[in-house]
């Protein structure tokens, strides 16, 4: 990865702030030589930084005022708190003072601030979040994971186009197979949303392989699986909960330190630490889980740098334009 990038990190987003984002940023600066801006309450961030050895690291603090809390309406909160951490973070990218941003939440605020500062891809209705969150299907991108609910069929199509683009660039999958998550494999199966999307996908020029069912996510039937963010978010959190519950269940008979328990717990961890780029904004914005540990934030910062290296945004813009052009021609 190139070490010439500057990454703006929202130090106030997530569960244990600013301690955890500061620790994650220091690790990323040390390991990858990246320049990091930490945005947050200046005194609190400086106090956390003082606990770390930052000799030779390029880390700067940028002050902000306030934070958008979980449960606040993102757009209204950004309007009433224009100098909050996520707004300042996104503003640094807009102003060219940083190349990419990283935030651990809230997802809604990160998304709204990124869209306001950086704008959406031409022709795109809504940006989206997706990625390979299943440890047992590590090469399958699932999209949307909760950024959008009540998605229109045309929005599902844009999720598919952006997910396929990500899969091609990030997982190096040539001509990725794209599927719709549904409750039956036949074309007519599913809710209205999926049934209507099926026709759009069929005519999209994407390598559309039809519907997959829940168990088929583990059977390598598709590289990109598209669903409404309500379904994707339920699955993401369900996977975390199930893996943790399975680990506790096995721990009772096999012992808490058994290899099986550690392995199953590892599966849960992967879902929990998942962070990914927001797809569809004109800039690199990596959004992670509020419960991410410092290692998760380091990984998110390094992921942002890699997205810059490969020109993710420019390639995804071009890929989406192709699908939208084809959809326009069909319509």
């Amino acid at each position: 990865m190139s070490d010439s990038h500057t990454i703006a990190v929202d130090a106030m987003g997530g569960d244990n702030v600013p301690a955890v984002p500061v620790q994650g940023a220091v690790m990323a600066a040390r390991r990858s030589g990246l320049r990091v801006l930490l945005i947050g309450d200046a005194d609190a961030v400086a106090a956390e930084l003082a606990k770390e050895d930052v000799t030779g690291l390029d880390i700067q603090v940028v002050p902000s005022e306030g934070v958008v809390n979980e449960g606040e309406h993102p757009v209204l909160a950004l309007r009433s708190k224009p100098n909050c951490s996520i707004a300042v973070t996104a503003g640094l990218v807009k102003a060219g003072k940083a190349d990419a941003l990283v935030s651990m939440g809230s997802t809604g605020a990160s998304m709204a601030a990124s869209v306001l500062a950086l704008g959406k891809f031409p022709g795109l209705d809504r940006p989206t979040l997706g990625g390979p969150f299943l440890s047992l299907a590590p090469n399958t991108t699932i999209i949307d994971l909760g950024a959008n609910v009540d998605s229109k069929p045309s929005q599902l199509l844009s999720f598919g186009a952006l997910g396929a683009s990500f899969q091609r660039i990030y997982n190096k999958t040539e001509n990725p197979r794209v599927a719709l998550l549904s409750v039956g494999s036949e074309e007519g199966k599913g809710n209205r949303q999926v049934q209507e999307a099926h026709a759009l996908f069929s005519a999209s020029g994407l390598n559309f392989v039809g519907n997959v069912e829940g168990h088929e996510l583990f059977q390598d039937k598709a590289d990109v699986v598209v669903c409404d963010g309500f379904v994707g978010n339920v699955l993401l959190k369900f996977t975390e909960g199930l893996a943790e519950a399975a680990a506790q269940y096995l721990a009772k008979t096999l012992g808490p330190d058994s290899e099986a328990v550690q392995r199953i717990r590892g599966l849960a961890g992967a879902a929990e630490h998942a962070g990914g780029p927001l797809f569809g904004v004109n800039g690199v914005a990596v959004v992670g889980h509020g419960r991410s540990p410092a290692e998760g934030i380091t990984a998110a910062i390094e992921l942002a740098a890699r997205c810059l290296d490969v020109g993710l945004v420019e390639q995804m813009q071009a890929d989406l334009a192709k699908v939208l052009h084809k959809a326009g021609a069909e319509a």
Copy 2:
């Protein structure tokens, strides 16, 4: 369980018919002393029965013609094949020649045939399927599991009422806690369907505890979790697929016969063999998984007998009427 019941079993529904339903029926008749009617192609069913020791068992074959296949439109198929196995099976209950029916699918056809023959509960829009399918949350009823998609908020309320009634009768939970599955715990979180349902549940007289998220299904936050059948069916099948994939993953390092692998596989099996009564039809109709082994069919037959013993249908009718009355008074 009382052995005085007669259970009608569709011998042509499921993946390996009529062999597996016949084996399951013979086991149930032997173990529980139930009278079983096997409905299907008379020659094929008789040929399978000839392989079994049926000495002293009360098993009779009732001939039918044709079967509703997966992927066929249930109502249209029933109209064009009035003597198909599931129609004859449900007709026997309607005619009083059997006390309950058991079918392994298709779910749509079982539901349509049961509604046509037995009728729905007064005031109910759509019957539903639900039950405790998570081995790691064995006392949590999840409803709907795929019988209904694109459910109206008022339909979700009826799922909640019927699920709570089932939970009270079947799991002996006094005043069961009812929750909506959503993507955030606050009232405003979720898609439009859940947001609108939230208000109905709040005013329903049910012991409504608000939203739960995917991971909270394993945290004993609710006894009954209500969702659209699209979401429930994806979760049901996802759980099967995840448990099987986790077992294969552990088998690679711990060996296929290790205790951990067998335990994880057991978790998958429970989901796969889940069968439950259709809620909201005026009779006991237990619908199971098409891939059920013979033991699953035996369990479904015995479940049907227990539902008759406890007067499940009459109690659920009364419980639903209470909620509908309260909803009517609020409206």
